[in-house]
């Protein structure tokens, strides 16, 4: 048998360096410093508290001099660095089902492979797990699994679900009682630091200041062209406030900086900076529901960029707080405000509330339609999304479409499939537009 002649494969064009705006670089430096603080914890003696993004009580955590570690963010970092695929497989090898959340499996696999963080240094073991059970059932099991590994104290804070679309006094009282009688005493015990409610008030005041600027940034998407991308770019905008910086001077400065950057773009009539360059040609304005895919984040974003699609509002950028609907941390009601914050996050809202939000976004931001990125890992988001799609279409008359990927499992990102669906969707939008124009002419 003759061997086939080896033919040189065509040279691939080098991937251009991703463009970043100044606020992205600033945030990158903040995150790097935070991961170094975590990695330094065994030497500095600082204690570490792991918790979750929805229901993240960073202000309270800081009252006890604890460093906030967010396993979801670690999984995202692993996804962006293309390490999560191996971590997920490692967890599945240990016996974790292929059906369950890949954030959990990425976290567990990362632990099994030495727990190396995005800065290349070993992540510290947590001193306490603050199980803020808010809007996601998996959280409950995730921290039971981690507790088994780390054998450290675990504190439950149960956030009732807004099944009837409202926050009742009973819900708030329940959460405040948990904070007073369980969460705060246990955090005091773990940290050795006495709780000081005035310290909490100070942090909450700072949170509210940064939240004002974040909302101004999110609302800037009402401009045409939109100076931001509220989904892909939105991941960056929410990073500090959903993570370990809410309540800090760093966050205040970051959001002032981000806001001025965005205002400058508005003044110049510029679009957002994407990894492929500034996005000037905005042919489609979309509202997006659901988390993004992180393992092919840039490729995913580029598919939108190539089509001239800018995201003007997204639900994912509300998983750590629905500030654009008016919520602000209130230093005058420190414990109640923490409760209301947890109760209000997007994934803790009923399905009808989510439909209302998405319809409002389409109207407020003059969007062409709704795109749902349905995530295999996340039943909290995904179960019911097909009904959400129908409802939003029915109520707004705007076209909606559905794509399927995963958070950090690369096996579930099929670029050709996603691209095809996006292209079909944009054709639908065009048809809808031409239909509207025809009706206007006929009228």
């Amino acid at each position: 048998m003759t061997q086939p002649t080896a033919r040189p494969s065509p040279a691939k064009p080098p991937i251009a360096e991703a463009e970043k705006d100044a606020s992205m670089l600033k945030q990158k430096a903040m995150m790097a410093a935070h991961y170094d603080r975590l990695a330094d914890a065994p030497e500095t003696g600082a204690k570490v508290c792991s918790t979750f993004v929805p229901g993240n009580l960073n202000e309270l955590v800081m009252c006890f001099d604890l460093i906030n570690n967010l396993p979801e963010v670690n999984a995202i970092q692993s996804g962006l660095r293309r390490k999560s695929g191996a971590y997920v497989l490692e967890a599945e090898k240990q016996g974790h089902s292929d059906d369950v959340c890949t954030y959990v499996k990425s976290d567990i696999g990362m632990m099994a492979k030495g727990n190396i963080g995005p800065n290349g240094r070993k992540m510290p073991d947590p001193d306490v797990l603050l199980l803020s059970y808010t809007g996601c059932f998996t959280f409950l099991k995730w921290f039971e699994l981690l507790r088994e590994q780390y054998k450290c104290p675990t504190i439950m804070l149960h956030t009732p679900y807004q099944g009837d679309g409202k926050i009742t006094p009973n819900m708030v009282q329940y959460m405040v009682r948990q904070l007073k009688e369980s969460v705060i005493p246990k955090l005091e015990e773990v940290s050795g630091v006495k709780f000081d409610i005035d310290r909490l008030r100070e942090y909450l005041k700072k949170s509210a200041e940064a939240e004002d600027d974040l909302v101004a940034v999110l609302k800037s998407a009402r401009h045409k062209p939109s100076p931001i991308d509220a989904y892909f770019g939105g991941i960056y905008y929410i990073g500090p406030i959903f993570g370990a910086f809410r309540g800090t001077d760093d966050a205040i400065q970051y959001y002032q900086f981000l806001r001025s950057e965005v205002e400058e773009r508005i003044a110049k009539g510029e679009g957002p900076v994407t990894p492929e360059g500034p996005m000037q040609d905005q042919r489609y304005r979309l509202v997006v529901e659901g988390p993004p895919n992180y393992t092919s984040f840039r490729q995913f974003w580029k598919m939108f960029y190539d089509e001239g699609a800018v995201v003007v509002a997204s639900s994912y950028s509300k998983v750590g707080g629905t500030y654009d609907f008016g919520f602000r941390h209130d230093p005058d009601r420190p414990l109640e405000t923490l409760a209301e914050y947890c109760l209000g996050v997007y994934t803790n809202r009923s399905l009808p509330m989510r439909v209302d939000m998405l319809c409002d976004y389409i109207e407020e931001y003059e969007a062409d339609g709704l795109l749902i990125n349905s995530i295999k890992s996340c039943n909290s988001f995904s179960a019911g999304q097909l009904l959400i799609m129908r409802e939003v279409e029915r109520r707004t008359g705007k076209p909606a479409a559905f794509i399927e990927t995963d958070l950090v499992d690369p096996r579930y990102f099929s670029p050709a499939n996603v691209k095809n669906r996006l292209e079909s969707y944009f054709q639908m939008v065009e048809q809808k537009r031409s239909g509207t124009r025809r009706k206007e002419v006929a009228a």
Partner: protein, 404 residues
């Protein structure tokens, strides 16, 4: 609450009586139009039916409002899901699809209210879908505390129960007095005692009370009025125990774990026993025995129900276990209580609670040297051969090696 007199007449032969009760339970199980519940509702004007999903709702409140609690656990393997699949992606379990199918196809058109208990995000979101799809039906997400302190989780739960009580009064048009609620608690205490007796009987003589029959008898309790179901339980326990037509086989004894929400097809349970496994305990239809002790029938009924939930209820994956030392101990207790040789983890595909919990439970079993196997199913699984082979091998291995 009066009940229609449609019970098979006992005769002198316990096996015949047992078989008649099982046949009736099978007919109820097979009827996807819930004919028994429909007939109960039609028997008197003004009667109301309130549906509930797994795992637990305080059925006493519905009963005290003179309404019929109707357990809805999906459509099983007999229903053709035509509309339901259009509402869910391929990676969501099957119970919400077939439940939607039941709703969209009109099989639940006589139901006046629906309760969606706190079990997982899929059932939680289904509560909101129901509000959108069936806006004229009362529906409520029934949240339960994950904090088990009386002054914290207890007070929250009492207030939630009070809110549910008001809602049910509005839906049924019946005032739920403390006296009526205490009476209903007594009626359900009796039912739960009988269910516990049934489980004890099976653990003692599993060849006389095989798992498929236990499952059918329990399932009937999701549709029948509780008083009638208690009568069925009494009849079955007495007849099954007295009947001498079945003999002990050389089977191993297993506990089933993971079946608390989406129910397995009846054939799956039959296949396990055919493969050589006596099922001596399980977590099927937990609502029938969620509260593990009698609830007091005097005093404040809501406070009593709350205390029972916090301190005397079953453990399962949907509940947080605050104490790591206690994690999974409930499964070891079930193995010991029932004299089982091993555990079969059988979880519905894509079931977050069961599948996330499983590795922790398996670690606990490993530490206790209790053998186990695991597989997944869907309520409409049709191919039983692989499961039968796996269970048969497990049973043989237990019998061969358990003494080694």
């Amino acid at each position: 609450m009066t009940t229609p007199a449609r019970k098979p007449a006992p005769n002198g032969d316990p096996a015949t009586h047992r078989d008649a009760l099982v046949a009736r339970a099978q007919a109820i199980f097979d009827d996807l139009n819930f004919g028994e519940a429909r007939r109960w509702k039609e028997a008197e004007p003004g009667r109301k039916v309130v549906g509930y999903l797994p795992i637990y709702v305080p059925r006493e409140l519905i009963h005290a409002a003179n309404a019929l609690p109707l357990g809805i656990v999906g459509g099983g393997d007999a229903i053709e899901v035509i509309h339901g699949d259009a509402y869910y992606q391929s990676y969501i379990c099957r119970i919400p699809r077939s439940t939607i199918e039941l709703g969209v196809s009109g099989r639940l058109d006589f139901v006046d209210g629906m309760l969606f208990p706190s079990i997982c995000d899929v059932i939680r979101n289904l509560s909101g879908m129901w509000k959108i799809m069936f806006p004229h039906v009362y529906s409520r997400y029934f949240d339960v505390p994950q904090n088990y302190e009386d002054a914290v989780g207890g007070n929250y739960y009492i207030a939630e129960l009070a809110e549910l009580r008001e809602d049910l009064e509005r839906v049924t048009g019946t005032k739920i007095t403390d006296e009526a609620l205490n009476n209903s608690i007594a009626v359900y205490n009796e039912n739960r005692r009988l269910v516990r007796d049934l489980y004890a009987l099976r653990a003692k003589v599993p060849w006389k009370a095989p798992a498929p029959e236990i499952f059918l008898i329990l399932r009937a309790g999701l549709v029948l009025p509780v008083e009638e179901h208690s009568e069925m339980l009494r009849g079955y326990i007495a007849a099954a125990e007295a009947a001498e037509d079945r003999s002990l086989r050389d089977n191993s004894r297993v506990v089933l774990s993971g079946m608390f929400c989406e129910q397995p097809p009846l054939n799956l349970i039959k296949s396990l026993e055919l493969a050589g496994c006596y099922v001596v305990d399980d977590d099927l239809l937990l609502v029938t025995r969620w509260l593990i002790d009698d609830v007091p029938t005097d005093g404040d009924p809501l406070a009593n129900l709350a205390a029972a939930f916090l301190h005397h209820s079953e453990s399962t994956s949907s509940k947080y276990e605050p104490d790591q030392a206690e994690k999974g101990k409930y499964l070891i207790a079930a193995v010991k209580r029932s004299g089982a040789d091993g555990v079969i983890f059988a979880a519905p595909s894509f079931c977050d609670p069961a599948l996330l919990e499983r590795p922790m439970l398996q670690n606990v079993l490993r530490d206790a040297d209790i053998p186990f196997i695991a597989f997944k199913y869907a309520e409409n699984s049709g191919q039983m051969q692989p499961i039968r082979e796996q269970a048969g091998t497990f049973s043989d291995a237990i019998k061969l090696w358990s003494g080694a």
